[in-house]
């Protein structure tokens, strides 16, 4: 497991990746198990709510389907927040944490380039995020199987892909900011603020008409604005999410190669 930086990074985070994945699996299964009962009782309630509230949580018709219900929770709520926390933490840990704990000098004392370290850490981030996202989908399938209803497999795959992409966006923001600055707090703070503000905008836009154009500022719009579980992933939304990961990745690499490392 210690034959390269990629495998060591995966190994170092293995326990927490498994715990996060177990949590996502449990959440997916629990919500899928609850869907038939909760959806039935909520559907009637939602019909009585004003339209703008329905616009936020989903219409009664959507909510009555597993895809609509699961879009609201976990994919718009708890599991999304978990993936933000997971990916930002991993991104920050890649370079900034190693630098601040004074092991980066030692690592780079070996015949490897900074670019090599950066790519291996990035590959580890890409690999790390897959398991918790997949575990969530598996949990949903298990719940649906137990409760004997079907879920759109294509929708679930596309929803999972969208969750993976938004996780990469925040994770690579953290990784690249950490690599560019060597600061753990900045590497966590900026992506967390972007995620939190995006979340707030995503919640407020359906409620306040005058804010509607703001939705394009929110990272969540590109993640779930078009409801990939129900409607499939929107290609340009996926491209925006990829861009939010790739552009900082490139800037971070450039800065990491050009700056002084902290002693």
């Amino acid at each position: 497991m210690y034959s390269n930086i990629f495998l060591k990074t995966i190994r170092d985070g293995q326990r927490s990746t498994l715990l996060f994945s177990a949590g996502q699996l449990a959440i997916g299964a629990l919500l899928a198990l609850l869907f038939p009962d909760v959806a039935a009782s909520f559907a009637g309630m939602i019909e009585d709510l004003p339209e703008f509230i329905q616009a936020f949580i989903g219409s009664a018709a959507e909510f009555a389907t597993p895809e609509g219900f699961l879009t609201a929770d976990p994919y718009s709520a708890i599991s999304l927040v978990i993936m933000f926390a997971f990916s930002i933490n991993r991104g920050m840990g890649a370079i900034a944490a190693e630098e601040q704990s004074h092991t980066l000098d030692q690592l780079l004392g070996n015949p490897i380039t900074r670019t090599h370290v950066y790519f291996q850490k990035s590959l580890a981030l890409i690999a790390d995020c897959v398991l918790p996202v997949a575990a969530l989908a598996v949990g949903i399938l298990i719940g649906a199987l137990i409760m004997d209803y079907s879920v759109s497999l294509s929708g679930l795959l596309q929803m999972s892909l969208s969750l993976l992409l938004v996780s990469y966006a925040t994770g690579f923001l953290a990784l690249s900011i950490g690599a560019a600055t060597g600061s753990k707090s900045i590497a966590i703070g900026i992506p967390a603020a972007i995620a939190a503000i995006g979340y707030l905008i995503h919640i407020l836009v359906p409620l306040v008409d005058s804010l509607s154009s703001l939705k394009y500022v929110s990272i969540l719009h590109y993640y779930i604005g078009d409801k990939p579980f129900i409607n499939g992933i929107t290609p340009w939304h996926a491209l925006v999410l990829i861009g939010v990961a790739v552009v900082p990745f490139l800037v971070g690499l450039y800065r990491f190669n050009g700056r002084d490392l902290r002693g």
Binding site: N4, T113, D260
Partner: protein, 305 residues
């Protein structure tokens, strides 16, 4: 094996500023193949900055460095393939064992840990334990082992014996002599004069980022030459030694007891002849250590050659 004169490390007017703060200023030196070179100075003098510039962890404000004739910036991997490095205040991955840390670095270096077993035995190091459970001294041993284990051509060691007990410091000194005998080049920083004196061929004394002198250890100690303590049976005039070149009164406890230093052009003969004009009760003299030379540089007095 003696140094053969090929420069392994060459620094030319190397300067590093951190904003307004001077890390090092116009530092020039050469370390030749087979040489043990010590960079001596207190904390904050610029020793670690110099090492980090050599290894391309930080970039110079001006000047240049070359290692094996290569640029640390553009040929860093080729350089580091031949270097064993011990960082100052060595810390490593606490959750890993010594065995997994050495395994990891062996893979990254792509070279077999040919000396691992012998080094562990020498330092009585148990590498099966997690780093986080080790004492500071044992962590430092891990640092030394990983620096030496791949039998590199050049060892760059930043405060190598920090945290080691005297026995292990002695073991380290023996190891440096063995590496030198094999023709290895060693560049180490230290603030321990005894360590440098026992291991290095040449030493550079660095003060506030500037290299104030660079010389062989033997010559540096000669420069500081001798100290003398003379106690007279009765008071003697305080200007007795004033006109003796190279001789200075360093301390005078009373009109009868004088501590003197003899350096550069000063001669023991003239000191004794001058002192002998007065009745002497005791006369003690000893050769100065590198520590005296070092302290002289740090007090701002530069010994005359």
């Amino acid at each position: 094996m003696q140094s053969n004169g090929n420069p392994v490390i060459k620094l030319e007017n190397l300067t590093k500023h951190y904003g307004e703060i001077v890390g090092i200023q116009d530092l020039s030196l050469e370390v030749t193949e087979g040489e043990v070179f010590g960079l001596l100075g207190p904390n904050g003098a610029g020793k670690t900055t110099t090492i980090r510039l050599i290894l391309d962890f930080i970039r110079p404000t001006s000047g240049k460095a070359a290692v094996f004739g290569l640029s640390p910036r553009s040929d860093g991997t080729d350089i580091r393939r031949r270097v064993g490095y011990l960082p100052g205040d060595f810390v490593t991955y606490d959750h890993m064992t010594g065995a997994t840390v050495t395994e990891y670095f062996t893979h990254l270096r792509g070279a077999g840990p040919v000396k691992l077993g012998a080094l562990c035995e020498r330092y009585k190091l148990d590498i099966s334990r997690k780093i986080g459970q080790l004492s500071k001294g044992n962590k430092q041993k891990i640092g030394l082992v990983q620096a030496f284990m791949n039998d590199p051509d050049l060892l760059i060691l930043d405060e190598p014996t920090a945290g080691l007990d005297p026995l292990l410091q002695y073991e380290f000194q023996k190891m440096i002599h063995e590496e030198k005998a094999q023709g290895k080049t060693i560049f180490m920083s230290s603030h321990l004069m005894s360590e440098v004196e026992a291991t290095c061929d040449r030493v550079g004394i660095i003060r506030e980022g500037k290299l104030v002198t660079i010389d062989t250890v033997s010559h540096l100690t000669e420069l500081s030459l001798w100290t003398a303590k003379i106690t007279f049976t009765q008071p003697v005039p305080s200007n007795t030694f004033n006109n003796l070149p190279g001789i200075a009164v360093t301390d005078k406890t009373d009109d009868r007891t004088y501590n003197l230093s003899i350096s550069g052009e000063g001669s023991m003969d003239s000191l004794i002849k001058t002192a002998a004009k007065h009745p002497i009760q005791t006369f003690e003299s000893q050769h100065a250590s590198l520590e005296d030379a070092f302290l002289k540089y740090y007090s701002g007095e530069e010994p005359e050659a």
